[in-house]
C-alpha cells in the first residue's frame, strides 16, 4: 500500500546543507501499523510530508496505492488521512460543519459523509460536541475531533505524526484505541513518534530512524534478535552511544 524507495531530502541553510532524509526505504501493507521512530530531528515528519506531497523529494519516490506523489499528487492525497499534533481547527465553524467540510474537500458525497460522520461520532463520542463551535473545545475534545477529521473520508492509509503530543493519560488512551480501530479497519498506518515505549505497544513493525537514515527495521522480535536488546529505548540508546564513540574516534 505504501512504498518508500530511496527517499532523499536536503535542506540548504545559510552555512551548510542538511540531509534530513537519507535514502530511506520501507513499505507498509494494509492492516499493518508501522512505527517510524526516532529522536527529534531524525527526519520522521519530513518523511511523512514527502509521502503526502507537501515537500518535494530530492531523490527517490513515495508511492501510495501505486500512485506517486510527484506525478499524481491528487490521487495520493485522496488515499491519505493525515493527523498531526500541530493540527488546528476552524474556530468559527461547528464540529459538524468542519467535518463535513473536510469530507467535501475529499470529494465524499454528502449522504456518505453524513453516514461516516454518524459512525465517527459514535466511535469518538462526539455527539455532545457536534454543534459546538470548535473554539470552545478543550484540548482532549479537540484531539478527538482532529482524529475524526483524519478518517472522515475513510482513507485506506493513515499517517499519524506525534499523535499523543501534549495529551494526558486519557487523551493518549484515545489515540491508542484509535490506532487499534484503524488496524481493525485494515488500513495501512504509519505512526511517527519519539515515545518509544508507547510505540512498542502500538505498532506491528518498526523503523528506527536517526539523522535521516534507517538504522534498523523489523518486528520487535526481529529487532531484539538483531540488536540484542529487549526494548526499543535500549536499542536507541545503544545506537546513539555507538555513534558518539565513532564520532569521537580519530
Amino acid at each position: 500500500m505504501i512504498v518508500v524507495h530511496e527517499l532523499l531530502k536536503r535542506f540548504q541553510t545559510a552555512h551548510e546543507e542538511i540531509v534530513a532524509v537519507d535514502h530511506l526505504s520501507f513499505a507498509v501493507e494494509p492492516g499493518e501499523v508501522y512505527g517510524l521512530l526516532g529522536p527529534n530531528g531524525a527526519g520522521k515528519t519530513t518523511t511523512l510530508r514527502m509521502i503526502v506531497g507537501l515537500l518535494r523529494a530530492d531523490g527517490g519516490y513515495a508511492e501510495v496505492g501505486g500512485y506517486r506523489s510527484s506525478t499524481a499528487p491528487d490521487e495520493v492525497k485522496s488515499r491519505l488521512g493525515l493527523v498531526s499534533a500541530s493540527d488546528g481547527v476552524y474556530p468559527w465553524l461547528s464540529v459538524r460543519e468542519m467535518l463535513l467540510f473536510f469530507a467535501d474537500l475529499y470529494g465524499v458525497p454528502l449522504a456518505e459523509a453524513k453516514r461516516q460522520l454518524a459512525e465517527l461520532t459514535e466511535v469518538f463520542g462526539l455527539s455532545e460536541l457536534l454543534h459546538r463551535r470548535c473554539s470552545t473545545l478543550s484540548t482532549g475534545q479537540k484531539q478527538r475531533v482532529v482524529l475524526a477529521r483524519g478518517l472522515i473520508h475513510d482513507p485506506p492509509v493513515m499517517l499519524l505524526d506525534e499523535p499523543t503530543r501534549g495529551l494526558d493519560v486519557l487523551g493518549s488512551k484515545t489515540v491508542f484505541d484509535y490506532i487499534a480501530h484503524l488496524r481493525r479497519q485494515n488500513k495501512a498506518v504509519i505512526v511517527c513518534t519519539h515515545r518509544l515505549d508507547e510505540a512498542q505497544r502500538l505498532c506491528d513493525r518498526f523503523g528506527l530512524l536517526h539523522r535521516g537514515r534507517l538504522l534498523h527495521e523489523g518486528t520487535l522480535a526481529e529487532l531484539q534478535a538483531d540488536t540484542g536488546h529487549e526494548s526499543l529505548v535500549e536499542m536507541f540508546l545503544d545506537v546513539l552511544e555507538r555513534e558518539q564513540l565513532s564520532a569521537a574516534a580519530p
Binding site: 500512485y67 492525497k77 476552524y90
Partner: protein, 680 residues
Amino acid sequence: MTLQLDDRESDTPAPKPQPALARPVDAGRMMRLCLKELREILRDRRTIVTLVFMPLLVYPLLSVAFQRFAVTSFGSLTSTQYRVGVLSEADGVRLREFMLDGERILAKTKHASEEATPLNPLAKQEPSVSMFPVKDVRSELVSGYVDVVVRTQESETTYQDTPPNAGVPTSKRLQFQLFYREDGPFGKAAVAYIKERLAAVNQRSLEVRHIHLPTEVLVNPIRGTGAAVSLTALVPLILILMTITGAVYPAIDLTAGERERGTLETLMAAPVPRLRLLLAKYVAVLTVALFTAVANLAAMTGTLTATGLSKTIFGIDGLSMTLVGQVLGLLILFATFFSAVLLAVTSFARSFKEAQAYLVPLMLLSLAPGMMSLIPDLEFNGLLAVTPLVNIVLLARDIFEGNVKATLAVAAVVSSGLYTFSAIALAARIFGTDAILYGSQATWIELLRRPKTKREAATVAGALFCLAALFPLYFLISNALHQLQGATIAARLTISALVTALLFTLFPILIAALQSVRLNSGFQLRRAPSLTFLAAFILGISLWPFAHEIFLLNKALGIGAFDPEVFKSVQSFLDRWKEIPPGTILLSLAIVPAVCEEFFFRGYLMGAFQRSMSPARAIAFSAILFGAFHVITTSALATERFLPSTLMGLVLGWVCYRTGSVFPGMLLHTSHNGLLVMMA
C-alpha cells in the same frame, strides 16, 4: 494528460496503480468551498465591527467635521451668497432688471424655503446675489473671486416670415452668456439660480403676451487650472479607503491565519488544487469588501442626504441615484482588483504580524494613486488607463465630470480584470508552499524561481499572467503606433507587423521559458496530417461570406457605430496603399498577424486552458479572448468586430483541437485574412 516522470525515477519500473479516487472540483464543490470561507469570516466579530459599526460612526463624524469646516469657510450661517461678475455696467443693469422681474414672478408661486436646522445650518433662506465688475472672465472665475460671469448682448432681430409682413422685425431678444467654473463650489448652483429667474420671465411673456421669448441663455463652463480641490474627488477616495479597511482583515485571516491556526497543512494535504482554494478565499474577501463598500456608500448617502450636505458637495442636483450607481460600479471594480492584490500579498505571510507588516506599505502605496484624482488637469491617457489602481481612480474622476472616453474606460476595466487574475494566480503559486507552511529558509526569490521540471503546457494561471502582461503592452504600443502619422504607409505596416510578431510570439516564448514550458508541446507546434492543410485552406477562403453576413447583422442590430470620420480615414488609407507592393500588404496584414495570433491564442493560451478544462470550454474561452483583443483599438471601440472575431476564434480553436497542431489554423487564418485584404 500525463506528466513527464522526474529524471531521477526513470530507471524504476512504472507502478501499477489502483483505480482512481480523486474527483475534480466541480461547480458545486467550488461553491461550498466559497460558502465555508464566507461563513468563517462573517461569523468573526472583527469583520462585523468593520462592516457595520465603522460606517455607522465614521460618516456622521465626518459630516459634522465638514459642516464645521464649511461654516468657517463660507461665512454666514444664514444665507448662501452668489458672487456674480459683470463685464459692463449695462450688463449689470440688464441682469438686475430681469432677475428682479423673475424673482417677483417666482415669489408668487414658490413654496416656503426650508428652515435651517442644527444638522443642516446651510439649508436656508433664499440665496442672495452680489454683483461685481470684472475685466477678464477666465481669471476671475479661476481665482474664485466670482462664481459666475454674465455678459449680455442683443441677439439677431427676428422677422416674421409670412407675407405680407415678411422682413418686418417683430421683437428683440436679449442673450445672457453665463460663464462658470466646472469644478467650483457654487458655479453650477449660481447658474441654475440665474437661469430659473430668466426662465420665469420667459414663461410669463409666453403666457401673457404670446410673443417670442425675451431672453436666451447660453451656458459656458470652463475648467479651472488652480490648485483648488474638487470636493467630489474626495468622495471616491474616502470610499476606497473604507473598502480597503473592510478587505484587509479577511485577507489576512484566510491566508496567514490558516498557518497560525494550524489548519494550513491539513488543507494542503487535501486533493484540491491550490488555485481553487485561493479562488474560494478570494470570493470571501471580495464579498466582504463589497459588503463594506455598500455599507459605507449607504451610510455616506444617508448622512449627506439627511444633513443636506449632498447639495453643498455635489451641486444643485445633490447625490443623485445615477451618481450613487456610478460610484457603486467603481467600488465593485476597485474591490475586485484590490481584494486580489491583498490576497497575493498576505499569501507570502507566515503569521498575522508578518501580514500586517506587508500590508502597511501596500496601503500607503495605494494612497498615491488615490491622490492622483485630486491633481487638476491630469489627463486620463493610454498609459494611465493600463496602470493598476490609477486607472480606476482616474476613471472615477472622469465619470463624475461626465467626460469619459469609451476606449480608455474599457482598457481600464479589462486591464484591471487581467491584473486581478494575475494576482490570484500569484497567490496560488505561493500559498501553502513549504516555505510558507514550514518556514523553511527559502527566500522570496526561490518562491518565484523558474520551475525545475519541464512542463508540457503552461498552467491556466501562467497563461493568464502572460495575458495580463501582454494586454497593457499591446494597448500602449497600439496607441504609440497611432501617433506615427508622419510615417509612410509601408513603414507603418512594417512596424505594425514587427510589433505583432514581438508581442504575440517572442513575448509568450519568453514567458513560457520562465515557466519551464516546452516549446513544441506548449505552443502545439506538432505535425499535422497533410490533408488537414487542404481542409484548412478551403475553410479559410470560404468563411468570408459568413463574415460579411455578420457585418450586415451588426449593422442591422446597431452594434458598433460606424463613424463617418473613421470610415473616411480608412477609405483614404485604402487609396494610398495601392502604391505599396501586394507582397508587403499580404505579409503585414495577413500572414504575420495570422501566424502570430494563432501561435499565442491557440498555441499557448488554448493549450494552457486544455490542461484543466474541457476542450469545448478551452476553445470558447480562447475564442472570446481573441474576439476581445480585436475590439480594442486606439481611436474607438470596434464592437462590431467582436462577434465575427469570436466566431472565427471558435473555428480556429476547433481546428487546432482536432488536429492537435496550430499549423493548419495558421493556414486557415492566413488564407482568410489574405482573401479579405486582396478584396479590399
